[in-house]
Amino acid sequence: MSSVINVRGLEKSYGSNKAVAGIDLSIQPGEIFALLGPNGAGKTTTVEILEGFRDRDRGEVSVLGVDPSVKGDAARTWRNRIGIVLQSTSDAGDLSVIETVSHFAKYYSNPRNVEEVIGAVGLAEKSTELIRTLSGGQRRRLDVALGIIGSPELLFLDEPTTGFDPEARRAFWALIDDLRKSGTTILLTTHYLDEAEALADRVAVINHGKIIEVATPELLGGRATSLATVSWHGPNGLQSERTDNPTALIRKLTETYKDEIPELTVKRASLEDIYLEMIGGADGHK
């Protein structure tokens, strides 16, 4: 029971379409766990079952030791311990930031300090502004503020930085990093591989309703041991060679060139390369 989220054999179909086809997951306390996958892979369905928004067909699911399909007062007690940041909300433009956050604080037994939360998401200066005057990135920060106001033990973050400019994304990542330090367990779904790499302790790649692999971002898809591409400027122009032992190749090159190897680069597969290969591989018959 030590896992925050525990899933065994989860299945869900819509008509004849098997959206989730047998998923196992185990997420540990304090972990930031990223769920990666293309659209229609079963990501959203899986997360919404975990959030208690959807029923499942088969399988065992426990979130903070509770079955998310729980109803009534037990559901309120359970929801009091989790926070959900949904993909897109565009409501309540006529309320200010602080009015909205203090209102949501009234739903929970042990809300965090309202000003502190607004400060933590970087909206202190916008506190008394109406929501409809906020930029997209600021609105997203407000969404996060509403997700964490109840001091959740577990936070669901659904594609939190879609539509952000690079600077806003960096700032957002720093915010998530702060949450990590406070010990909140986070289940993150994202389209962005750099985001998963920057934030996640572990990554699961999901496609066609199944988990293809679960690993740390460094080890995903055998990335650490995958072929490296060594390239340099040789007598006939730019040359490159794929090898599983780049050090040996460079040692050989140092003998040829004595001095500096011109324009030497060693490139490992990026997380994106690995990921595309993984989901492409699963799509291979097409």
């Binding site: 009091n80 959900i84 565009s90 409501d91 949501f104 009234k106 042990n110 033990e153």
Partner: protein, 267 residues
């Protein structure tokens, strides 16, 4: 983690009511529409029909009863059946569903905002009626008692029915096209714009199935002299029956709301 209790559904509901009232007040167009539209209608109908229905009963006096009753249907049923699908489209409802806020708190908040806007609307309508259209207020405390329970029970029933009906519009954009005709037809059938007993019999019978006819008749019992009761279908105000029928609609609305309420758009 602390050991505080999760706030009760009623506490959260009252907080939601306060928030909804605040939001309502800040939407200037809807405030103006809700509060000024009944006065405009009273002005138009009061100028068109200037004859007296019987001794001392002007059409304006008759019409004020109808306007207050249809105000109940407009602020409750119509507003909610249009607004809730919009809130569903925006993701407001889904977000609320992800919190410990129970559905009942959401409903309580809606009842509060409908009741508050109803009270404002009636107050302004009566003031304008007295000042410009020669409307007389009742003096009998018993009539004010009827008036009070009609407003409270009527707001609650109308709110519950609006929430129940909100599952029908597929999207916020199409909602008013689905909801408004229902309300307008009911207003014509229920004797809001015309003297009820002048309507064809079949129309009266259809109207008697729905709550607006009873709200209107109830309001007439408040604003018209008791001698006018002789001109009602039953020859009396049928106050007791009015109470039970509106209560039955409230119960039906609540039941349907609880059973069918949709937090998310169908995909």
């Amino acid at each position: 983690m602390g050991t505080n209790k999760i706030p009760s559904a009623l506490t959260i509901g009252i907080a939601r009511g306060g928030l909804e009232v605040k939001q309502f007040m800040r939407q200037r167009e809807s405030v103006v529409f809700t509060l000024a539209f009944p006065i405009m209608l009273l002005g138009i109908f009061g100028s068109v029909f200037t004859n007296e229905l019987t001794d001392g009963v002007t059409f304006s006096q008759y019409f004020v009863a109808g306007m207050i009753a249809s105000g109940l249907v407009n602020t409750g049923f119509q507003q909610l059946a249009i607004m809730i699908p919009v809130e569903r489209d925006f993701g407001t409802l889904k977000r609320l569903r992800g919190t410990p806020m129970p559905a009942s708190s959401y409903f309580i908040g809606k009842v509060i905002v409908v009741f508050v806007s109803m009270v404002l609307q009636v107050a302004l309508l009566l003031i304008a009626g007295i000042l410009f259209f020669g409307v007389n207020l009742p003096t009998d405390p018993a009539k004010w008692f009827t008036f009070t329970w009609l407003i409270i029970l009527g707001s609650a029933a109308s709110t519950a029915l609006g929430i129940a009906f909100s599952v029908i519009p597929k999207s916020g954009r199409g909602a008013s096209a689905v909801v408004s005709p229902v309300v307008i037809i009911l207003q014509f059938f229920s004797g809001v714009f015309f003297v009820f007993t002048d309507l064809p019999g079949w129309m009266q019978q259809v109207a008697a199935l729905f709550p607006l006819k009873w709200m209107t008749q109830g309001m007439r019992s408040v604003f018209l002299p008791d001698s006018f009761a002789a001109r009602e279908v039953a020859g009396t105000w049928e106050t007791g029956r009015t109470f039970w029928i509106i209560l039955a609609w409230l119960m039906a609305g609540l039941l349907i709301s609880i059973k069918t309420f949709k937090w998310e758009r169908d995909r």
